[in-house]
Subunit: 428 residues, 2 copies
């Protein structure tokens, strides 16, 4: 379907500053951006002077964990995991993960997220929710291993991962992709990690992984292996495949160079890192060094939302204050972190920018909202004023999935009712 | 008018955890909270299981600065003030301040703010907007002084301040109160400050002031006077009146003791302090020492919104991450900062808690919103999940001023149209 947006603004980088222009989609792709009104289209949407931007990419998530939102608060990472989350996860099953994933996807679409990277268990249930809702995602079955002789051969978790990759890779016309995932250095043994890394490279897969989230993780890795987690992942072959490294709060300058040289991606999860007392990632230095930094919400159990605009806004102000330097980051830099960099981290190179020929992953932001006036510069509005309630529309591959409070592929009342039931009876 | 809320929750501290109860207002006050349905009322509102909380107090604001939202970004405090804001403020007048204030008040009411403390120029125009809209406020004309011999005698700014205090003190049945304000130590001379402090005490007024916002301000004060800004304000008599100290990013442990001993209030403005590169106030230490900490948005030129829930949520996670301690602050502590502590800072001692006999300053929070499910604990939901779009209703002194997207005292289309005109023609 050809959808024409008229009377819209787009960010200044595209050369139409302060103008009300036209953007048209042609099935899956952006087919026109300009000053002239196209003659042929199937549907027209009056943008009312609002802003179209590339859709948001949430580069690190555990979608099903919405069911643990607010469960086990005000605890540090280690206690939160061991005392609260890991025991609660014993009750996960295909059904409650499926329902929670659908709920999480609704929350993400409402917040302008067109694609997310996920690592968790029961990712086949997440895959089902992804395909049904039409959102994009790179899903991965998070792998852990125990004992010095752990091997992928016969490992049920690894077998699940391979099975689901084979089952779902490029499903829904490529909107769904399947990655490999090593949960973290501290939850795995070296031999197992080497085997997974080799399999990932041999099969041209991408990798998702937690890295240097807390200081103790970083220090313990150095004590154990004589190297940082990033050095360890380089030396075990993990970084030989395109890898998204979640958190990276404690990476060294040399780690950053390794990340850049290997073309790996950092997922900056500012809210989760603050809330769990982990710290503040050195994003300005990463950006100076040319590291590709993306934004992630992490799971709703540690965030406690899937609100990527909150991450965007927090990332835009946090590093200024933390470094006592108002110029530590600039507003015009930040949109890329929330959009095209995330697309790259998922290997989606025709996404993340509003250019003709790119996939039509588009979000409309309400510039008429009370909190967004006046708007001198759209990057500043996005970084400092806008919030997720200003998302008016979320389009994925040319298909509108959320518009003016309505979901087109999700029966939100039914999903909410089912999710309420899961939450109420989870510990029965 | 007696308004009955049924099917509502209130925070756990009131002893009705997890129950759907009734709350009734009787004109200006809360007249009933309990399990039995009152028989007589004029209007009933079905709370649908949502949460009633005390309304938010914004303890530091420059409301008219909404017109400078997004003007002069990514600059440190000193350059931002001297290169951008001070020159722009030369064009302020009664009319553009009045229109901007009305717009700012709409933004605040929408975000659940029932009262704000303001320091700026043309506060008589702000006062007009406050009275017309029905919000509460403590307004103050910000005083600056130049030259060693500066005195309040014959000073036009001081005279304005006194005139407006006399004109508006306790207007609109006490919803409007007028305070004194010294802009800051670094924008005033000692003799003038002493005179203002004396006048404030002699007339039983309250004081609003910027203090230790940036490190350079703090250091320069020590170089000039041999004491910190807080010590300086104590020694000049400022702290002899009830004083709200905005920012306090660089206060010492001894400063905190002085603040507590003098019954002064700290207005924590986390977003503004981050965005201007000022730093992070030591809120956990202040709380440990028993300092009364309140929350403020600052003006929209440095925030860039008047979204107190964003401040609430940021204050709830920032200090955990900054101090690498997930227990640095606890969710159950934070609601008081956003509500009753702010009320105290304005001298409104019958406000800020949901108890019978208190003024009915009440906000309804949407617990059915997608981002607030599940809700294990209302304090955690407020600190970590909720956002300003979850504000369903804002009531001031028993009068509903905002409900389900509609303003009852503000013609929002007209105000927006006038505000747009002010912004578009400000630099003509």
């Amino acid at each position: 379907m050809k959808i024409l947006f008229e009377n819209i603004r787009i960010p200044e980088e595209y050369g139409f500053a302060d103008e009300h222009i036209f953007l048209m989609t042609d099935g899956e792709f952006i087919s026109y951006i300009g000053r002239e009104r196209p003659a042929e289209f199937d549907r027209v949407i009056d943008g009312k002077g609002n802003l179209l931007i590339p859709g948001f990419y949430n580069s690190h998530c555990h979608a099903p964990m919405v069911m643990f939102r607010g469960f086990g608060e005000d605890l540090p990472l280690w206690r939160w995991l061991n005392e609260k989350i890991f025991p609660a996860e014993e009750r996960l099953n295909s059904e409650n993960v499926y329902i929670s994933s659908k709920y999480a996807i609704a929350e993400m679409l409402k917040n302008g997220i067109v694609s997310f990277s996920d690592m968790y268990m029961f990712e086949n249930s997440v895959a089902k929710a992804v395909v049904e809702t039409g959102i994009k995602a790179n899903l991965s079955r998070s792998l852990v291993s125990f004992g010095e002789n752990a091997t992928i051969k016969g490992d049920w978790r690894f077998n699940e991962s391979v099975e689901w990759i084979n089952q779902y890779q490029n499903a829904n016309n490529g909107r769904l992709r399947m990655d490999m995932s090593i949960h973290a250095e501290y939850t795995n043994v070296e031999g197992y990690i080497r085997e997974v890394a080799e399999y990932t490279k041999d099969n041209n897969l991408r990798m998702q992984i937690h890295a240097s989230e807390s200081e103790s993780e970083h220090i313990k890795c150095i004590e154990k292996y004589g190297k940082t987690p990033i050095e360890f992942f380089r030396d075990t072959g993990v970084l030989s495949s395109p890898t998204t490294l979640a958190h990276c709060v404690y990476v060294t300058d040399n780690d950053m160079d390794i990340i850049r040289e290997h073309g790996a991606f950092v997922s900056h999860n500012a809210t989760s890192n603050l809330k769990l007392g982990s710290g503040v990632a050195r994003v300005p230095t990463m950006l100076q060094k040319g590291v590709c930094v993306t934004l992630g919400t992490d799971g709703a159990a540690s965030n406690n939302t899937l609100d990527i605009m909150r991450e965007y806004q927090l990332a835009s102000i946090l590093h200024k204050g933390y470094n006592r330097d108002a110029e530590a980051t600039r507003a015009f830099q930040m949109l890329d972190l929330a959009t095209v960099n995330g697309a790259k981290s998922q290997g989606r190179n025709d996404c993340g920018k509003l250019v003709v020929g790119n996939r039509a992953d588009i979000v409309m932001i309400d510039l008429n909202a009370i909190n967004n006036k006046p708007c001198f510069d759209t990057y500043c509005t996005l970084s400092y004023s806008a919030n997720s309630s200003n998302v008016l529309m979320t389009m994925v591959d040319g298909e509108i999935l959320y518009h003016n409070g309505e979901f087109t592929t999700i029966d939100i009342e039914k999903v909410t009712r089912e999710f309420d039931y899961v939450c109420e009876h989870y510990f029965d």
